[in-house]
Symmetry: C3
Subunit: 182 residues, 3 copies
């Protein structure tokens, strides 16, 4: 590989943004980043298992991770978890930000204010954090206005997080393109 890849440091604070398309291997890549690092592994699931298709996806992801992970289910208050619950020995995988964004929009929350708060919480967080998020902006403009709004908000969120994270990668076919080397 021409791209330098990287490992998480031995302790936090440290943050990484892992972007990728659907079934690009972004979650698996993030899991491997976490599992290769010493410390306590925490999975923060933003998904709410509200239908069968989503339930299948969650179950598929859970089977892949081993038993060395603890689980926090948090569809909305990510910032609170990062700010108050995470220690420097812990490594957190947030899977995923696009579902968090979708949950915020469903709950009619202010997106900018919530991204501000997440970035503030990340600045205060003592642990290592790996954010997983879906790249959704490289197709044709969607017909419906809500989908257009969603991809705009996702794009803005990715720009802002990539700006503050220590590292950023784009995953294609399971392989990393490094956007920001720590």
């Amino acid at each position: 590989m021409t791209q330098a890849t990287f490992s998480l440091p031995a302790q936090g604070p440290f943050s990484t943004l892992v972007l990728g398309g659907a079934r690009s291997g972004k979650s698996r890549y993030g899991e491997q980043l976490v599992e290769c690092a010493e410390g306590e592994h925490i999975y923060i699931a933003t998904a709410q298992a509200w239908d069968g298709e989503m339930r299948d996806r969650i179950s598929h992801h859970q089977k892949r991770r081993g038993d060395n992970w603890s689980l926090i289910e948090e569809p909305l208050a990510l910032a609170d978890v990062l700010r108050s619950q995470i220690t420097s020995n812990q490594i957190v995988l947030v899977d995923c930000l696009t579902l968090w964004l979708s949950n915020l929009m469903g709950a009619e929350k202010n997106i900018d204010a919530n991204v501000d708060d997440l970035i503030d919480a990340l600045g205060a967080c003592k642990g290592r954090v790996v954010f997983i998020s879906n790249e959704v902006g490289q197709g044709i403009v969607p017909d419906n206005a809500l989908a257009r709004l969603f991809r705009d908000e996702a794009g803005r969120m990715h720009q802002r997080l990539a700006g503050v994270c220590d590292a950023a990668v784009m995953i294609v076919a399971g392989l990393p393109l490094v956007l920001k080397q720590p």
Copy 2:
């Protein structure tokens, strides 16, 4: 960053293609390329403010750029502007080619002939030119034939321009992946 990034040279001719998805930060990246270079800054807007959503986007972009820019609004005759109006001291940001393509299709112009003409004009242009364009071809095949035609034409235009430009970058989450180093 592992990717070498680059600056515009002190004078033209020089051309750069900046691709990116929706809200990827491609316009901001292009603006920074231009603003870091000495010379007269010209913004060529291909947008026509025909509805409220588009008007909001344009206003959002205008607020971000400072007052050191002059503005040319040109939905169709890009080639004429590049060929005849731009001097070697000027730096032009064309934002964006996908809207230009959309305008051409709306006006039932021949796309290949217009891209030929743009490439010919670029060869004759004395200034530094930065083209912004949307990557739209990495989603699922669109249902409707016009959208399929649009993404095919956009893809062909990007290939042709990347072939003749001195530099090309793909922006993801505000960060550049260099496709062609000058």
Copy 3:
């Protein structure tokens, strides 16, 4: 270009995955990889010319390739061709895997079993193989369940093939981003 590019080795076995969006230049890139290598050039077309739009695309591709190619049309049994018909002097361009996947889904075949079989056949193949495939997972989530299934299957297939291939590249605007250097 900052990205190291590569050539095919003088003889097989060797395998390359070339991904790209619509009209990204992925087929042309794959053809050039093959044409720059010594040996017998074979084009495996997975397309079935079932409508006018597809027929136009096939004809467009055929015109671009010269007469130094032999053609195998195989919509489904790719694995059989790779396993039994290809010698170490031959270089095969498979264009493309996403159409093969679409054909499998249309014929209600088991996708995982067929990808397993393709990977097994690739392990047994003596020739140099270049797979072309469409990146379809970087847009907004499609409305219809079949399109969602298709992009999920495509993503999984790409991950699995990128894992076993000797090299992988992502083509954007005709230019390569190297995902896996041989």
